[in-house]
């Protein structure tokens, strides 16, 4: 929890032991999650991991096979979607085509019996919040994809929802708009303080906007942690490989330390003892040109401020993928394929898994 949430009136969300079975498929398998009031939790995972199912069960658009959903202490089992007060933004464009932008945003308020003037005022306020107050008279067909999703966000927030649910809201957008809108979603969410669940398969998106990220796999929560903790201290091999890139380096673990490429590195909880594979981030590896070095540069990929260098070390299995190091571009561009390098591993804690 960061200081930004103190004094907010968001509600707590508790998903407890949720299981959802479709025929022979367990989309959710005893899934639990507790979201603090005003917090933004991102559910991250590959497609089919159950993240959207969890969101839809919370919204009341799907029914759990077992388990419970509580929001602000109130049990929502058996409460239909339209009585749950959830603001939802969908992956597919969902603005009502026959209504203007303003009427779209005011729709939920109209259903709640607010007067025309009250709902128009609130709708304008919400459009202002997402920077589209001048587009109130337009129709969805006249807006870009990014604008439509902003209106959808304004519409979801207009009803002052108990929880804001974002179901891959950026997936249909261009890369540039995606980054812009993702930051905007975070700004708006901090401003209104609504407890938010954000489902995405894009790790960068999840790490950038969330207070905490829950990594899901096969209907279960692998790890729920702040982005930086998730990145630096992955709890499981799945998290380590799904979030960010990881090299798998042969390691020997003893007394809480691993020997990796001849260097001593502390290990994280959950590591094996004895022989294993250390999951090392590319940015934790540095390469120094050296005629006696045992690493060999294979290729250099320029990414702007940083570059990724592929290299090999002796003892790698035949046909294995080259290893990756991430270096500052000036250092990387000094290297050439075929150069010999010294390979150094930062003494940051690593997870060692069974080989």
């Amino acid at each position: 929890m960061t200081a930004a949430h103190e004094g907010r009136q968001g509600l707590e969300v508790e998903l407890d032991g949720l299981t959802r079975v479709y025929g022979s498929l367990r989309a959710l398998d005893d899934f639990s999650l507790r979201v603090q009031p005003g917090e933004l939790v991102a559910l991250l995972g590959p497609s089919g991991c159950g993240k959207t199912t969890a969101l839809r069960i919370l919204a009341g658009l799907d029914q759990q096979t077992s388990g419970s959903v509580r929001v602000g202490g109130r049990d929502l089992s058996g409460v239909p979607a339209n009585k749950r007060d959830m603001g939802m933004v969908f992956q597919a464009y969902s603005l009502f085509p026959h209504l203007t932008v303003l009427d779209n945003v005011a729709f939920g308020l109209k259903l709640r019996g607010r007067s025309r003037s009250a709902r128009t005022e609130r709708a304008r306020e919400m459009l202002e919040l997402v920077g589209l107050h001048e587009h109130g008279d337009r129709y969805a067909a006249q807006l870009s994809g990014g604008q439509q999703q902003r209106v959808a966000l304004a519409r979801a927030l207009a009803i002052e929802p108990a929880v804001l649910l974002l179901d891959e809201p950026l997936s249909a957008l261009d890369a540039k708009v995606r980054v812009q809108l993702r930051d905007e979603i975070r700004r708006v969410q901090l401003e209104v303080g609504t407890t938010t669940l954000f489902v995405t398969h894009d790790q960068e998106e999840a790490l950038a906007v969330a207070d905490r990220v829950g990594v899901m796999n096969a209907g279960r929560m692998e790890q729920l942690a702040a982005p930086i903790e998730l990145y630096n201290s992955p709890a499981t091999p799945f998290v380590a490989s799904f979030v960010g890139l990881s090299n798998r380096l042969p390691a020997e673990v003893a007394d809480g330390e691993a020997s990796v490429l001849g260097q001593r590195v502390p290990v994280l909880d959950g590591s094996v003892t004895g022989a294993g594979l250390a999951l090392v981030r590319p940015e934790s590896i540095s390469l120094e040109p050296s005629a006696e070095g045992h690493g060999t540069v294979v290729a250099i990929g320029f990414l702007g401020p940083v570059s990724r260098v592929q290299f090999t070390v002796p003892g790698q299995p035949e046909g294995a993928e080259p290893l990756l190091a991430q270096l500052a571009s000036p250092d990387a561009t000094a290297l050439r394929p075929g150069d010999r390098v010294d390979v150094r591993v930062d003494p940051a804690p690593v997870l060692v898994v069974a080989g």
Binding site: L61, P80, I159
Partner: protein
């Protein structure tokens, strides 16, 4: 866009040919319906006024128009909520509903009538002999065409997402259907309605074999004694349908423009 001269000439010729194909028979109808019976010279509107003055023809026209209204109402009430509900809640029944709706198209009208005659003796017994009881049969008869029109309108929008968005905002199922889905498939519902009107105004087999006096039946009967009046009625009903269809086209265009920049 620039079109070559040849293209424009060909296009004009095509339009002309199509116009002639469409309008010459109508003009011939108009010409014939205003002739004085028995090869006498001159023009007369007698045949047209006959539609109102003749008791049998007038009541047949009224019956057909009422049948059109009732059939459209029945079709809309039966089909629109069913199709939306099936799409939203029980998509696996989609095929079955489609099959049922298209069935009347695959069975010749004559066969249906023969089968339905027994049912109609019960209808006669329970509801009396008004031609308006034909509504039941006509609703079934227009199902295939209406189904197609509404189905394509539904396919053009993301019904599921729109419904889920509306529900998350607090809309119950009734509100979802009436305030969100129907307004967005209104064009399809309208064309289903107009196709139904056209079908009902031209339907002969059912009403004739079940002995009801609707416009086509009366027209056929009068044709033998007063052909001009029969032609006038034919032209009038065709004009009505044409006006409805033109209206539909323009209505559709206006809605389209509203939705665009």
């Amino acid at each position: 866009m620039t079109h070559s001269r040849t293209f424009r000439i060909l296009r004009a010729l095509g339009l002309l040919a199509f116009g002639a194909f469409f309008f010459v028979p109508l003009l011939a109808l108009l010409d014939f319906s205003t002739q004085v019976p028995g090869d006498a010279p001159g023009r007369t509107w007698d045949a047209w006024t006959y539609m109102v003055t003749d008791e049998r023809l007038r009541s047949a026209i009224v019956a057909s128009l009422l049948l059109a209204v009732l059939t459209v109402t029945g079709m809309v009430v039966l089909l629109v909520p069913t199709m939306i509900w099936v799409r939203l809640r029980v998509p696996r029944l989609n095929r079955l509903v489609e099959f049922l709706c298209l069935l009347p198209l695959t069975i010749p009208a004559l066969v249906i009538v023969v089968g339905i005659t027994n049912v109609y003796s019960w209808v006669y017994y329970l509801l009396g002999g008004s031609p308006l009881t034909l509504t039941f049969a006509y609703v079934v008869l227009v199902l295939p065409y209406s189904y197609r029109a509404i189905d394509s309108a539904l396919a053009a929008i993301d019904v599921t997402t729109l419904a889920e968005a509306a529900r998350s905002l607090g809309a119950g199922w009734f509100t979802v259907i009436t305030r969100i889905v129907v307004p967005n498939i209104w064009g399809g519902v309208l064309s289903a309605a107009f196709i139904s009107v056209a079908l009902v105004l031209g339907e002969y087999v059912f009403s004739s074999l079940l002995h009801f006096d609707t416009l086509p039946v009366a027209m056929a009967a009068i044709y033998k004694s007063y052909a001009q009046a029969s032609m006038a009625a034919a032209l009038a009903s065709m004009t009505l349908v044409a006006v409805l269809l033109l209206g539909l086209t323009f209505l559709g265009r206006r809605r389209e423009r509203k939705g665009m920049a």
